[in-house]
Subunit: 406 residues, 2 copies
């Protein structure tokens, strides 16, 4: 008898963003003329930067000619892209990361979801609360948790991110083996200082733990004192894997490219406490289960690092950050105390009400789609996440509506 | 302590095609002027069909304009592509598959590798021998096998594909729960008749088993009596998942698109023998761990189904099949008895020698790269796989060289 993976039955019935989509659909059916403004799901809205489009178009043309056609690419990404990444995203910031430590993929969601495959099932995992649901759900599917009780899975250690700790969780009191961190944070928009990240790196060394560091929103950092990569910190290469994405950096949500960094020094352990290097494991996982990113897409990603690409992506992010500032200031004007929106596209604030109730209130009264904080975890109860991904025009209109109903 | 997945240590040290690449690299270092002809790895060599290139270029241009830009696509693929697939690949062949049963992905390697996540770890799995290594390695990584002993993993049931059964394995004598099948076969090039496939479908019903049917090479079928889809057979929808790919059909190895078919009737079971529908499980898996295929790539795949796309892909495949015929006939002329090469791009033949020894002989004496059959399993010992993926000019040259050294 072919038996189902029993862990799937533990997962909450639906993915947060599917829930939201259902509510929005229902509202639109009842109000077909409503002019919705979507500040919910973190999907970008502005065109792909011209240097990326041009590079993708040129590579597409190459694919149409026998002499320049490319079939399977190198297992872990083309050298032109891996080298550009190492140079511009790391070496330029003083982080000693080599092209051989870069693994190009179709996005950080896949990588953060798949990486848990490399670990034993009997490890203790810490996740922030609120949290990007992918970290949790993929471990549930793999059988590393118990049942969901009162909104939290048994067996996981939740790291509370609250206004008391400025949404940067404290080190856990109990010993954990694997730690998911995301800065700039989704959903809170909080950033971690050098000192705060160093404490996590030191914790990982002291406890033989590993950090999975999601830096998908790094392009939004404007405060230069904030680390862009965990590898800017001494000792991080042994104990941390980093995930990056072009989705938010360069508007690639519909183009699909990202990468993982697995330094050659990065280690895990076998049952007897002997070191095992993580890089060959990830290399093998990717060679076995993945077949690379489309050549034209890798060329588009490479274009992000040209002078024109850097200027275009900076302008893109500046636009979203300007939106974030407008939303943030409107909320402050209305007496809320938002976090994020300065080094992040997300604004996070306590509504003083139930998250879903507030979500419905904004949908019904202002025709604005947001994300209920409760969807990201218990500590998100009462919070709302507003995303700055939209046109300035729509954001200005949304702020006018917000001011009327708040 | 962060512990590694202990199952990774069971996997054979390297992936078959990495082994080959190493030997070729060594040879080229010693013989830098050799003019190699690569008929090894199944990578296509001819340009992407013009209708696909044009569609991809147009969609890339759309991505460069705010008004037509697309971010995250629908979870399981754009309707335009899912509907074209259902219509042309299934309904047109009398297989009643609906667009909602299609899940667009970045390729059949990923899908055939990931699908095992949906099953319990205590199932009995049957794999053909010889076999595409991904089916086996992904189950080893997941912990569904014992150690590798004498080239076979303990716990798996191997279905011998030999010249005695025309490389279509017989039903297993012991009861199995999950069966991997691939027709036209990689590596043997064999095809299965309606009667042979029906026997597997009936077996799956009788034994509450499930079939994972890999049809990545379907475009090479020229014998119209051979089923193109397992869903052409009565009863298959309840017991089979099918995987397709544009890699070989339309030269997408470097463009990356494929799909899985999970019919709504398809079932697995819980611990107590209650039916669980498989489709929502795969939907959830993909929503949680995957973020879709690039919009321009989905447009390129859609173009395969236009009249121009159909003509162009047929011409592409015809060219490779002509190569296959040339190779096949040369081998017959030299006294070998090859299989495949008629409804498949692969020619498979018994060399009468050790596979790797013969591989080295062809590399050293004819500068031709092939694939040693032993790399696909015990039953491949003594065999060589030759791929027809190259230009006609190179194939003619290769055949001249073969004739001299065989």
């Amino acid at each position: 008898m072919i038996k189902a993976n029993p862990n799937f039955s533990k997962i909450q019935a639906s993915y947060l963003f599917s829930d939201i989509a259902q509510r929005v659909k229902k509202y639109m059916e009842a109000n077909p003329d409503a002019k919705l403004i979507r500040l919910g799901i973190g999907d970008v809205t502005k065109a792909l930067p011209k240097p990326c489009v041009d590079a993708m178009a040129a590579a597409t043309a190459e694919m149409g000619v026998d002499a320049t056609f490319r079939g399977y690419g190198p297992d872990h990404g083309y050298a032109f892209l891996r080298e550009a990444i190492a140079e511009h995203d790391f070496k330029a910031r003083g982080a000693d990361i080599d092209a051989s430590e870069i693994f190009v993929s179709d996005g950080a969601k896949c990588d953060t979801g798949n990486f848990q495959e490399l670990f034993s099932n009997d490890i203790k995992i810490a996740v922030p609360d609120p949290v990007y649901p992918v970290y949790v759900d993929t471990n549930v599917m793999a059988g590393r948790t118990g049942a969901s009780v009162d909104g939290r899975y048994e067996g996981l250690v939740y790291l509370n991110s609250t206004k008391e700790n400025n949404f940067v969780p404290a080190l856990p009191e109990e010993k954990v083996d694997l730690i998911y961190l995301c800065f700039p944070n989704n959903p809170t928009g909080a950033v971690a200082t050098r000192e705060q990240l160093q404490a996590w790196v030191d914790y990982a060394h002291a406890n033989n733990a590993l950090i999975l560091f999601d830096a998908a929103y790094v392009a939004f950092i404007r405060d230069e004192s904030i680390p862009h990569s965990i590898y800017e910190l001494p000792g991080a290469k042994e104990v941390a894997v980093e995930f990056r994405s072009y989705s938010k950096t360069a508007g690639f949500t519909g183009t699909r490219c990202g990468y993982s960094v697995v330094p050659k020094e990065c280690r895990v352990f076998d049952e007897n406490g002997n070191k095992i290097m993580l890089q060959p494991m990830w290399a093998r996982r990717m060679s076995t289960k993945f077949n690379g990113v489309a050549y034209p897409v890798q060329r588009a990603a490479e274009a992000v690092y040209t002078p024109e690409g850097k200027a275009a992506t900076k302008a893109l992010i500046d636009g979203y950050l300007e939106n974030a500032k407008i939303i943030r200031e409107a909320l402050i004007e209305k007496g809320y105390k938002p976090t994020g929106g300065d080094n992040s596209p997300y604004i996070w604030f306590n509504t003083g009400k139930d998250s879903w109730e507030f979500f419905d209130y904004l949908l019904n009264n202002a025709q604005i789609v947001t994300t209920p904080g409760a969807g990201f975890g218990k500590c998100g109860n009462g919070y709302i996440r507003i995303s700055a991904f939209n046109s300035k025009e729509n954001v200005l209109e949304a702020v006018e509506r917000l001011k009327k109903v708040l």
